[in-house]
Amino acid sequence: MRLRTNVLRIAVVLGAFLAVELLSRIGAIPRVMMIPPSEMLIALVRLLLSGRMNVHIAITLRNVGIALTSALLLGFVGGVVVHALPRLRRILDPLFASYYSIPIFVFYPLFIVIFGMGSIPLIIMGFLSAVVAMVINTLNGLDRVPRVFRKTAQVFQMTRARAVCLIILPAAAANIFTGIKLAVAYAFIGVIAAEFILSGGGIGYQISFTYYAFDNNTMYALILLILVLVTVINMSLYVWERRLLTRMGRR
């Protein structure tokens, strides 16, 4: 059954690809709108080989990396702290619940004014997009540790530190992994959206630039690059998560 769904899935994706390819080749989709996917692919390969986008790719990856790492660390620590302070948690709850309904990019100009143009506002945007997802999921994970696990730790006379490392964190692992998955996705979205909207370098900015320069080939190559990059990373996390969960018997 698994094999069948996998095959069907590949067929669906391939089918969509081929359909678009066909439509653009016969001119049903004008070149001015979108170039055929195969040409996007070729343009991407050429682009990567030529290395002229390497600077921008490096900038984006660095921005995402910093934003993500800080979001994961601070988000996790924040989650742990808030979990330990129920009153604080109750106060912050509405904020967490509404956070992702707010268009965070509206605060972008604020950061530019404070920190100037350049990478810092981009990193902050990525950070702000990702951190709350990590906090929320850390909180959920800690909530879901069954009380009986904590009692077991007590029966084994474990110190707090050992209990946390050996029992509580593994028990919360599933939710924390969800937090990591979301944080990765949101960090990319935050950084690239910020690069796109208000420049500063990076792939997002380059997409905007090539659009205005009518350089469709490079633009689509870059769009494809981002799609592939983000999808590969997220899919890897997804597969890793499933393995983790199956081992723990949660599926």
Partner: protein, 249 residues
């Protein structure tokens, strides 16, 4: 996540805390960067009183409403079909998750090329943001309907329409509402981002123009209006969401 019911006192503390933080930030970075809470509020009210401001609001509201309508109707239809048809649901689930994670802003130039610099581009952009979570949540809601409910329906010889109306919809409703809530917020965000480029009307455009002119007052005031709108609607939907999940076992 099921947020616990906030006590009124706590909400005041939170809002008070945020306002305080805002004021302190103003004292630190000065008026070239942000405007303090009271001034922002007053200016926002003034903006709302200006005749020239409203066409922008209407533009955004129209684009948002259209995008939302398509997201909701399309999302529910697709989500329900994928939910009921097991195989399709399984095949498409990772594809949808992947779609959810990609930075849709990168598709923006493509949307512009396809739709041109028009209302339809904004609507399209809003839709691609909002439709995906609605599909995912609706699909999950249907797949998670307890089989015993359907067996019970068969005991009473319910025809498909009655089965849907009296059992399937109420059972799936809590998760569907959560999806609609998320879809609402994301459609709004998508519409605003869509307005920031090549548009000559709309709140997104106003924002972009203010950024270009370094018009801090307008930036803050429009931001305040948008955040207030988004947060209040989300809170209302959250209350509904919460009530529905309270009854769920």
């Amino acid at each position: 996540m099921r947020p616990s019911k906030p006590h009124t006192a706590d909400v005041f503390i939170l809002v008070g805390g945020l306002l305080l933080f805002w004021q302190v930030l103003f004292l630190l970075v000065g008026e070239l960067a942000i405007t303090p809470p009271l001034d922002t509020l007053l200016y926002a009210i003034r903006l709302l009183g200006r005749e020239r401001f409203w066409p922008h609001v209407v533009e955004t509201a129209t684009a948002f409403a259209a995008g939302l309508a398509i997201s909701v109707v399309g999302g529910l239809a697709i989500g329900l079909s994928l939910g009921f048809h097991r195989l399709s649901g399984e095949v498409f689930e990772p594809i949808l998750t992947a779609l959810y994670s990609i930075p849709k802003v990168t598709l923006y130039p493509m949307i512009l090329l396809i739709f041109g610099i028009r209302m339809s581009a904004k609507v399209a952009f809003g839709t691609i943001h909002g439709i995906v979570p609605i599909i995912i949540f609706t699909m999950d809601a249907v797949r998670n309907i307890k089989p015993v409910y359907i067996k019970t329906g068969r005991l009473y010889h319910l025809d498909p329409a009655t089965m849907a109306r009296t059992i399937l919809v109420p059972a799936a409703l809590p998760e569907i509402v959560t999806g609609l809530r998320v879809g609402f917020s994301l459609t709004l965000i998508g519409t605003l981002i869509g307005e920031m480029f090549g548009s000559l009307q709309g709140l997104g455009f106003v924002l972009m123009r203010a950024i270009g002119l370094h018009d801090v007052k307008t930036i803050m005031a429009v931001t305040l209006l948008l955040v207030a709108f988004a947060a209040s609607i989300n809170t209302i939907l959250l209350v509904i969401d919460h009530r529905l999940h309270e009854r769920a076992i």
